[in-house]
Amino acid sequence: MTLDLAAVVAWMSLYGAQLEVHKQHLIELDSQIGDGDHGANMDRGFKKVVELDPVAFASPSDYLKKVGLTLISTVGGASGPLYGTFFLRLAQTWPGAGSDEPAAQTDETAALGVALRAGLVGVQERGKAVEGDKTMVDALAPAVAAYELAAGQGLAVALRAAADAAAAGRDATIPLVARKGRASYLGERSSGHQDPGATSLALLFETACQALGGDRA
């Protein structure tokens, strides 16, 4: 199977490295409309994730559960529970989770779509945000929808569609007025700034393309 433990660990390593590269950019985006801690918080949390020893985990689900719990206990703020919940839901629904049947015998691409949808539902239950509130949901919701639409064309194509949709959703947060999170205190003054949560989320899908979808773009 493609979506095995090694692939998920590679995904988290790549995302952790990219967060380090983009840390200052995320801090700058968050300083404009929040309290400036998103880059440092995400970097701190995923440094702990990258330190996890893959040998200690029997399956991608075991590992993803630990990723979620690690983020919840290290990131703090709103991002900790939101990203943590996303990965906990992925853990519960990851292709092969809760089944003795080898995942290779099921449609892995479709199964990942189910997991991503569960992750989105978890984030929305936790944060109560809908599309248009200027949050990570503005990147995550279109990414999941695009993935589902392209799932028939195989994993790489579906993940590429998801990453492109996440990036477009991220860019579309710029004119929005924030209705959730600390940026909402700014009201109209939050318009004109790109949402930092949507930015880190788009990066997560871009790294998924490379680590899970074999995309070297």
Partner: protein, 333 residues
């Protein structure tokens, strides 16, 4: 940045070490998790009160742990909410068999971390948890579609009054109802004369000119309603009190009034402000029957103040007057 610190990344833990040494007659500190406990917790048969939030607001919350107020306080990083593992540990540790009340200030991160902790505590330890959210800041427009109003000064009064109810033996539903009544009957508004500098940031969150003030400030340096030229205290008091009186009907009410320093403003100015607040409140047909003046919910070294007005009935006043013994507030025992 000019601060009495050793290491900007270790300020919260280093400060809690001193807090524990200074107040070992009242509290103990879990230095691994940065949770402050009432020395005799858990108190069998008593509802446990757990609060917490970002650090930088001292004495809130740790300073209000003790007899008659909180059983535990969870300290997050500066201006960052605590994490669920801290809150779960606090919830389990202070459970005396009568359930736990979480007192939560209304910020997105705080709400989520306390919600996750309540779910985990219920699942893992079979502890009944109720949560009351404090959202008293009239500077923020309230709406179903936004994060809503911030929790500010009223938090101190809610911790005192709900803590007294729990100490008196009220059950979980009754303590939660008292806390909700405080939240429904109190409003706050603040003003900043300067910004403040979180240690890890190293520079002020915002800067104000010598002749400027930010009206409607939060307690993390978030922006307020508007930036205005500095004015005499009498006018500043009107800018703070009028929006509160416009938001809730205080006519004929007996009021617990709280004039709070945001960190750098001295008592001489806070008492001067208190006189102005009393004048406006009286003119509006309400009567202050109890008061609290001083720095109790701060924003690091920010200069400025906030005003909180709570409509109080006989029961709330009686609970306000009840004995309390915490590092930050002590009377009657």
């Amino acid at each position: 940045m000019k601060k009495l610190i050793n290491d900007a990344t270790a300020v919260v833990g280093d400060s809690l070490a001193g807090f524990e040494l200074a107040h070992s007659d009242l509290i103990r500190v879990d230095r691994q998790l940065n949770v402050v406990y009432r020395l005799d917790a858990p108190v069998t048969g008593k509802v446990g009160l757990v609060s917490g939030g970002g650090s930088g607001h001292e004495p809130l919350h740790a300073g209000f742990v003790g007899h008659g107020m909180l059983d535990a306080a969870c300290a997050g990083a500066v201006f960052t909410s605590p994490t669920p593992d801290q809150i779960v540990a606090a919830t389990r540790t202070v459970d005396g068999g009568a359930g736990i009340l979480h007192l939560v200030k209304n910020y997105t991160g705080d709400i989520m971390n306390f919600e996750m902790a309540a779910e985990l505590a219920a699942a893992e330890a079979d502890v009944r948890v109720e949560a009351v959210v404090i959202d008293d800041d009239v500077a923020v427009q309230d709406s179903l579609y936004t994060a809503g109003r911030r929790g500010v000064g009223l938090t101190v009064l809610a911790e005192k009054i709900a803590g007294a109810a729990a100490e008196a033996g009220a059950d979980l539903d009754a303590v939660a109802a008292i806390a909700r009544r405080v939240n429904a009957n109190g409003r706050s508004m603040g003003i900043a004369l300067t910004g403040c500098t979180p240690p890890e940031k190293g520079s002020p969150i915002f800067e104000l000119g010598d002749d400027e003030m930010e009206v409607g400030i939060g307690i993390h340096g978030e922006p307020g309603r508007e930036r205005r030229p500095l004015a005499p205290a009498s006018q500043v008091a009107e800018l703070l009190v009028e929006p509160i009186l416009a938001d809730l009907d205080y006519r004929g009410a007996e009021i617990i009034a709280f004039v709070n320093g945001l960190g750098a403003t001295p008592l001489i100015e806070l008492y001067l402000m208190y006189a102005e607040v009393e004048r406006i409140v009286s003119a509006a047909g309400a009567r202050i029957v109890r008061s609290l003046v001083g720095p109790y919910i701060t924003s690091l070294e920010m200069a400025g103040c906030s005003v909180t007005l709570l409509r109080a009935d006989d029961e709330l006043i009686k609970l306000w007057d009840a004995p309390v013994a915490t590092p930050g507030l002590r009377r009657g025992m």
